[in-house]
Amino acid sequence: MNGTAESRVAVIGFAAADVSVTTSGVETLAPVFEAALGQAGLERREIDFWCSGSSDYLAGRAFSFVNAVDAIGAVPPIAESHVEMDAAWALYEAYIKILAGEASTALVYGFGKGTAGDPARVLALQLDPYTVAPLWPDSISVAALQARLGIDAGLFSERDLAAVAAGREEASCVETLLDRPYLRMPLREHDVARVADGASAVVLAAADRVGGRRAAWISGIGHRVDPQGFGERDLTAVPSASAAAVDAGGLDGVQVAALHAPFTHQELLLRRALGLPDAVRTVAFGADAMFSAGLSRIGAAAGEVMAGRASVAAAHATAGPLLQQNLVCVLTAEVAA
């Protein structure tokens, strides 16, 4: 949906960490909150609403988000909520709270210790528990099916995938990458984002609380989900991403995009689904810090705007197998009229 002139929301702070000490997130989040609030110029007690995103299956325990509340210092009690999703969707919930007039400021955070387990196997448990998950297909094998379909449809080649990887990593060349063995044919190691630990936080504020602070204004956010069944959609198209971009007001004029693509071929599928011209620069991410990755894309896109490197930036987050669920957020330097 689109922010209107009278209900405008901006990103005024962002911080991230590329470590996660424990699965509870507390030790990692405390300094991240401090940095994000410092950038925003707000005190902890000035936050009206807190919202987080994380996963019990990543942490390997039930109620894993509960201990993270200890990083906030929620005495006296706070208004708070949690989504079992990437924290980009927690940001959407906080954005809605501000638009609804239920809060003027919000701190959104995501965290995950992806290296604590074997995420490629764990993610198999996102699949239909009656018909698919019992076969325990790991997430890289599932993604390889999608990459194969894209190659067979003539959308890209293995060389194109290597070029995406070479663009992400300094000093790697396409020829060298193509000499490496397959991990899951046609995917090689460089096609799979390294799973990392991480946490991030974004501070949001309504227009009347932004004041003279540096801000990246949210001009629109959209998110959609596609059916999961592998035969239920053309896996080389990403209709939920395309629709989310429309919901976010379209990506015309976007100069830089921060895409959340756990696999190289998915970055190419996303550029196509979002209609991003080649001239649109992308923010490079070296690893996939699960459950804070999408939120960090929003923070990074906001950073591009706040630093003056772009006047319009787009951020994207994905969830589920094969780009099943997608969120698009457009940020601008100027308040939309």
């Binding site: 949906m1 209900s7 000490v21 424990t22 699965t23 509870s24 996963s55 019990d56 299956y57 942490a59 390997g60 325990r61 039930a62 109620f63 988000f65 509960v66 201990n67 509340v69 929620a74 005495v75 006296p76 009690p77 706070i78 208004a79 708070e80 909520s81 949690h82 989504v83 079992e84 999703m85 969707w89 919930e93 809605i96 638009l99 609804a100 007039g101 239920e102 604590a116 448990l125 996102q126 239909d128 528990p129 009656y130 698919v132 998950a133 998110h223 959609r224 989900v225 596609d226 059916p227 999961q228 239920e232 939920s240 629709a243 919901d247 969830a319 589920g320 197998p321 099943q324 669920q325």
Partner: protein, 383 residues
Amino acid sequence: MRRAAVLGTGQTHHRTRRTDVSMAGLCREAIDRALADAGVGWEQIDAVVLGKAPDLFEGVMMPELFLASALGAAGKPLLRVHTAGSVGGATAIVATSLVRAGAHRRVLAVAFEKQSESNAMWALSIQPPFSAPITAGAGGYFAPHIRSYIRRFGVPGHIGALVAVKDRRNGALNPYAHLRQPEITRESVQASTMLWDPIRYDETCPSSDGACAVVIGDQQAAEASERQVAWIRATSMRTEPTFYAGKDHVNPRAGATAAAALWAAAGIKDPLDEVDVAELYVPFSWFEPMWLENVGFVGQGQGWKLVESGETALGGALPVNPSGGVLCSNPIGASGLLRFAEAAMQVMGRAGEHQVAGASTALGHAYGGGSQFFSMWVVGRNP
């Protein structure tokens, strides 16, 4: 602020094991009833919010993803909320915010738990490295708080049994309830096995498979409805840590703060006088008097007196849990939404045999974690 209203509600028959349906079938049973009750078609639903407690309870990571089509969410926005036991309430509140923000006209809120798919005790008993274990078994966790309540106010020992009898008999009036025990008596409750002193077997919630769904609409959708809607007058959520110096599990600050904010937002000055019926999240009978005090219906140490006087029974001054409450049905993730839905059903006049006559203002309440996550709403026959 934009107005929002409940257009319709639906729920499943709650049982220990609903082996006759899959998770998708369970959710659809509730959703289909909610859409029919609201008089709304699939094409009129703009977004879906799904709530449930830990994924380990079914053994599926983020089950809303594989359920997307069954929930009618494919091609639409889908959010997944998880705020521990309060999640059912939080699900309704997030859906309400989506409408109040002007993002959508009609939002479907769904919550479910199919505990028979996995093993809740196993899910609660995993002890990961570097982390304090969650004490498995809610009864063992909460019993000391109840003992503290009894000691603090010198509460007579039979109060918990009075609540159990009332709720189980109310449940007998509710065709969807898991436990329906019209013959239960104070003596039979007091003769049941002691589980966690002072909580007896008959004072404990069951473990249920079940789902609940609610359709929430904006003012235009509400005014287009041919049936009575439940206007959402206020919502409130508050969180505090599980443990901290000064934590009071008998009277948690987060619950009291949430309630105070709720009454203020709803313009209610005397809750006991102005609220006609309350659905409180009571997983163990003794929590009824504790929550009556915590949300401010009565003062500290007075809740058990309201229970003893019979005023919380159907026909009393403040009927509490006419549906039978969590004591009769407990599909954990859906239990909070069931409280919120029953509050709406009461003011819409669609609560059947457990209808409180003339109910026009109702409270829905849920809590979770170590008495630390609270979600509440007040709904009314009028905006």
